[in-house]
Symmetry: C2
Subunit: 348 residues, 2 copies
């Protein structure tokens, strides 16, 4: 990896593990910046080395969001904490219809983390940012003593711009609207869990961690009258549907049979006593759309990478406000509540 | 504290301590949002409850920055982690001349943190945001298991706008420029250290933690030809001066006698073997200004709250590039290097 030449960064990063001094703000912090972050996230904003990055922006509607990532373990089938940290924030912007442009990245590192692991994570972030077309323009690093964090936590904040005329919000769904899900649920949560607990189904289940801005563009190319988009991460599909129902003051009814679940996830959930409706996803979205646009949006989604298994899974009803129900395979109807308690901590 | 009424938030937050479920994304996460974050950070952006906040912005130069805060202990004379998290990011924006407008706030909480402590911190953030005139428009909460963090870590990211024509950068200082320091150094680091270690001089030394946007406005009201501003946080005054010298390819010489240090800090440093030049500050700035504006800027600073002890402490020299020296009290000259190693971890 090339090193830039600037005074205090000239000494090589030659420790095998992260020391407290890498978070000192002094020489070793500069080394880490010069030899790891700058070459990986390479851009002029970051290279300015000032306290804030400055970007020319047009007048318009700015979208701003943030997420911290504490997933355990750092690496899992289908992704790692770095990929997750970029995708998670990109997706939060995309769900408001914003074009993701700039990210910040802040690292809280446990003393003793292997430098090679940090490098792997940072390179993963850089790769994903490049793929999405966002720039990581500002950052921060803190190092805490051994035992005061679990390897590595990452925060990303993101800035994007919402095109004129677009209004996507959980408050918008109306009776008669159709609920579309972009693919199978539960892959991320089960992949992370099985890696963490050594459950042995890790070969068959990989996280769906992916950026969703492409799917959003596809949807909006069909119609800009879309009501709401949301990625069902923590709390799973059930929680997202409940959020919509509460925000919009409507009811939502979904069909169990219509909700795609991969066989491996279904089997793992049965074995462990989990309900896939509550398992986190990191590369899926729920779209609430006017009925007349639903079929065309569905067809468009299915033509996209990560959208092949998209399905219409339900409809929006007038009430009771905040109520989500599911027609089960065997013909009954049950209430689907928001996640209660905590099923799978440290999943994102 | 008022609670908003929205379905899942109706149950009261009645646990004494933070449970993992508060980070689940489900019901208890919503409770925390509805009953703590929304009432404290009250604004329409946050109340939308969507994945990202949307703000109308004018065309211009957007400033973006981020910092994570891991200070230990959470509460110390003169401040707390919440006040620090708002001031730190506001100050990073202000150092580029940006008017701070919007913040995000992300919490990584150790399971078992007392809810009353979290509430205290969040209220402190809200108070400080109100004082500065920024809005906290987006947020996130993660809870990790006991022993996987140290009570509470906070990340803030910040957005501001830079007025047209202004160009503040560490790369700008030129030979002949004057170095101004806005007040005495070392208060923050020594206050936190003494609180943490129970060293007993806590009654006399309080953190200088404060927002600096007002001082920046005062400086820019005198002249917009200011070269660079920076707040000497981690790594202290010595590190900030070295950063300027490296970025601009100049030398900087300061006068020991001119650098204000409170007597308590001086005594504590002597006792502990620390050099005040390397101790973190959270409410001070270094300004590099053209010589002809220096006296007027100094007078203006001294008329401001938190600027009463401002002083001209040195000058910019042509070279050697990257070299910082100090004329000592007894008339010698010594090289002032960037902080090497780590003196005081977890200070911000």
């Amino acid at each position: 990896m090339p090193t830039t030449s600037m005074g205090s960064g000239d000494q090589m990063l030659n420790e095998e593990r992260i020391l407290l001094a890498y978070g000192s703000g002094g020489k070793m912090s500069h080394q880490l910046t010069q030899q790891l972050f700058l070459p990986c996230f390479d851009n002029a904003f970051l290279r300015s080395l000032d306290d804030a990055a400055i970007m020319e922006v047009p007048a318009g509607r700015l979208a701003l969001t943030t997420d911290s990532f504490v997933v355990k373990p750092l690496f899992f089938p289908g992704g790692d904490i770095g990929k997750l940290a970029v995708c998670g924030t990109v997706n939060d912007l995309a769900m408001k219809g914003a074009k993701p442009l700039y990210l910040t990245a802040s690292f809280i590192i446990e003393e003793g983390l292997r430098l090679a692991e940090l490098r792997w994570v940072v390179e993963s972030m850089a790769r994903m940012a490049k793929e999405v077309g966002v720039q990581i323009v500002a950052g921060d690093t803190k190092v805490v003593e051994k035992g005061q964090a679990d390897s590595l936590y990452i925060n990303t904040a993101g800035v994007g711009f919402v095109p004129p005329g677009l209004d996507l919000s959980g408050a918008n769904p109306r009776p008669g609207d159709v609920v579309i899900l972009s693919g199978a649920i539960g892959d991320h949560g089960i992949a992370v869990l099985s890696q963490r607990e050594g459950l042995g189904f890790e070969t068959s289940i990989a996280s769906d961690c992916a950026p969703l801005h492409g799917l959003v563009e596809a949807i909006l190319s069909v119609s800009r009258e879309v009501r709401a988009l949301r990625d069902p991460t923590r709390g799973g599909l059930a929680t997202t549907l409940n959020e919509f129902a509460l925000q919009a003051g409507v009811a939502i009814r979904v069909e169990e049979e219509a909700i795609p679940v991969h066989e491996g996830v279904r089997a793992a959930c049965e074995m462990l006593g989990y309900d896939p409706l509550y398992i986190a996803n990191e590369g899926k979205l729920v779209a609430i759309v006017p009925a007349e646009t639903a079929e065309e949006i569905l067809a468009r989604l299915r033509a996209e990478r990560c959208g092949e298994e998209a399905a219409i899974i339900g409809t929006v009803l007038p009430g009771p406000a905040g109520r989500v129900t599911m027609r089960t395979r065997i013909g009954g109807t049950r209430i689907v509540d928001m996640l209660t308690g905590e099923m799978l901590p440290r999943i994102c």
